[in-house]
Point group: C2
Chain length 448, copies 2
């Protein structure tokens, strides 16, 4: 048995116990974790300093960017933020033991569809040290064991955070081994093979990174490889709104997955709209690439011709491609062909055109007269975000803690057998929806 | 491009249109399908006759069992049943455009989490010709395109049913190519590779068959390879109920996935309970295998010693293994080690022991004082069943039409940009749950 197999067995065993740890105890453990982070700021900052110093050397060699080093850095304010985040998770509603549906099947035979943890989550992420405490808190609150593999550039920071979390949570009575750290890259390969023990992978990182994981594991993956989002400006649009939304989608924070990468503009409004938005983009130093028709309208030497590859490019930067389309259908086709099923936006004052766009575009989030940048767990009011999924199975779009749960059917009878419902004198099922709550049954039964 | 790639492109394109076909039109198409089945009984029976005749020859050669040939056979009654099943699907509630959650993010900025089709479903199944119309109806009602691959032994029956369904539904205006038939086995391999076009596989069949599919595709799989279900008779049990439930679980229909395969009995009740249940099992010709302790108590030469492999065997027949356990924990451990996460049952009059068992056993359905045989979509009141899933992602346990849907976030604003919520004078989100319905917005907008 390899080290990872052993760890997976331990995590899986712990998950069976953790599934039944009370909300009180889970929250107590989260409070312990919060305190541990607050009380060990010095230790965290020292560990982080080692990572940052190494990263600075790489920066000098030109291997890292300044932005990369900045994201890695943890200061007092960041430590406080991490502790606050853990606190906010402890304050969230319990995602477990919720009665999703209750149904009487027959007299004295009651079904409860109840939320339960998934089991063992594998979280693989790059750089940012605050991901580790965030995903650990969400997993603990939702009763899941978790494997953590951070980027090697944050090795020291991750190690100290992991140790604080493990120690403080296990002291509060959380089953030992519920949280596991992986540090070597070759261990990731082994983790990806544990499909009988690890139930879900939640990777965060670059497109290549996510694709690598999807290609190399049979474990279901929740996440997104690309965020190639579009904003479509319809012919019947309010120009001012269209400008605000197109500008916000690209410029407000271009490095993230829900930023707009391609602007589609209806040909009937292009000559009015394009000069205005392009002026604003240029003020904000956005590099612009346009289709032939765009170039014809703008007659601006600074605007490059968009190549075929541009329609499939996620720039993640102050860069945008613009295409003029002759119809709503052409816009929809372009998105369904080149998009990543992440987020698209339409600006239009014609409601039936809004509706057609929203229902025809095959993406996890579609905005009518609002920026693509809204698609985010916090803005959607889901609490802390597990990630954004562009898959269609299990959870889609911004995913909150609910995405770390599944359900279980509990059927409570009193000697009921299936044979009574067949043959002569067969009983019939009543199949009545009820307001029964598993939590009440649970309360009653635990007194016995 | 291979034939399957082309078919997958067509199905995927059709699915984008089908997602927006109205409930009225989907139901009209289902009615057309129902009529086509009823009006072409002769054609169906003739095609089926060819399959059955071929199967009978295989039966003579000893390659098929009588039960296999029986399952293949379609008569007038079965044709009527198929048509009735299509009718019942048309009468079910629309699974699409349901507002799962609605939330105001800010004034004039409203989020709708709305049910939508998954896209393209791949259904691969063995023998029984009624699976093809069932899965086609469920996919059409839920707005999905579907690939159908039946067993070669039902080739003629499946072909004629497929043609009737395709023609009658497309006549009613369902996008051409929404339903695709695969007949050659090598095409299945190609289908399994279409992970960019096929969104979900729903296979039915033997353990080897499902495992093969899980091993050979990156497409998510909904289903179960094994149904190794347990009934546990606790020490504080009502003997009569325990006998009824243990008997029903094994004998009522042993060939199915929710039948009990292993009986676990608490040692304190074993000498009272075992002679009684064994007498009943023997009357029903159940072959019994027992652990050492079981043999000691029963002292019956007809009872074989259970080998290690028996605890992992899904007999699917009148055969059961019996194990005596010394504690509730031992029963739980045995199930979590040897079970298939399908269905388990406990009989006990002690509520806290019922609770512990139900919450500790990591299976999709857990029964308290009711037979394992209840875990089934029809009995659970889910309508026609897509399948039973032992995975933990997306859908678990018996899966109804809801399992063929996912959701999409619709955000409706009025020029809203994310930038307004940051920096000085930042607006705050209101995050209020609302009773807004996407279906109402949809109705209003489609009038425009």
């Amino acid at each position: 048995m390899t080290g990872i197999e052993e760890k997976a067995n331990t995590a899986s065993q712990a998950s069976l116990e953790l599934a039944n740890v009370s909300l009180e105890k889970r929250n107590e453990a989260l409070q312990n974790m919060e305190d541990a982070v607050r009380n060990n700021e010095k230790e965290i900052l020292e560990a982080n300093k080692k990572d940052v110093e190494k990263a600075k050397k790489m920066l000098e060699k030109g291997e890292y960017t300044q932005a990369f080093v900045d994201r890695l850095k943890v200061d007092s304010k960041k430590v406080k933020k991490i502790a606050d985040m853990i606190k906010s998770v402890s304050e969230q509603e319990d995602p477990l033991n919720k009665t999703i549906k209750a149904r009487e099947l027959d007299e004295g035979l009651n079904l409860y569809k109840t939320s339960v943890p998934i089991g063992v989550i594998g979280s693989i992420f790059e750089s940012r040290p605050d991901v580790l405490p965030q995903i650990s808190s969400l997993c603990l609150k939702s009763g899941n064991s978790v494997f953590l593999k951070g980027g090697s550039e944050a090795k020291h920071s991750n190690r100290v955070l992991y140790e604080l979390i493990k120690e403080s949570s296990e002291q509060a009575g959380i089953p030992e081994g519920w949280v596991q750290l992986i540090e070597a890259r070759k261990e990731v390969r082994e983790l990806l093979e544990q499909d009988d023990k690890v139930d879900l992978l939640v990777p965060r990182g670059s497109e290549e990174f996510i694709s690598f994981i999807q290609e190399n594991s049979k474990i279901p993956v929740l996440g997104h490889a690309r965020g190639l989002c579009h904003t479509y400006v319809d012919k019947e649009t309010d120009l001012e709104k269209a400008i605000q939304i197109s500008f916000d989608g690209k410029v407000q924070y271009p490095a993230v997955c829900n930023a707009t990468e391609t602007l589609l503009v209806h040909s009937e409004i292009a000559s009015k709209f394009l000069p205005k938005i392009v002026e604003k983009y240029k003020e904000a130093n956005v590099k612009i690439k346009g289709c032939e028709k765009t170039l014809d309208i703008l007659k601006d030497d600074e605007i490059e011709k968009a190549e075929k590859a541009d329609w499939d490019s996620e720039y993640l930067d102050l860069e945008i491609s613009i295409k003029i389309v002759d119809s709503l259908d052409e816009a929809i086709d372009h998105i369904n062909t080149h998009g990543s099923k992440h987020t698209e936006s339409i600006t239009s004052e014609n409601k039936s055109r809004l509706l057609k766009f929203m229902e025809s575009v095959d993406s996890s989030s579609v905005m009518a007269n609002a920026s693509t940048r809204f698609s985010d767990g916090y803005r959607y009011g889901l609490g802390a975000e597990v990630g954004i999924s562009t898959g269609k199975i299990h959870a889609r779009g911004p995913v909150g803690m609910e995405g770390l749960t599944t359900y279980k059917y509990y059927l409570v009878g009193n000697g009921h057998k299936v044979d009574s419902y067949s043959g002569e004198n067969a009983r019939s099922f009543t199949h009545k929806e009820t307001q029964n709550l598993w939590s009440e049954k649970r309360e009653e039964w635990s007194q016995d």
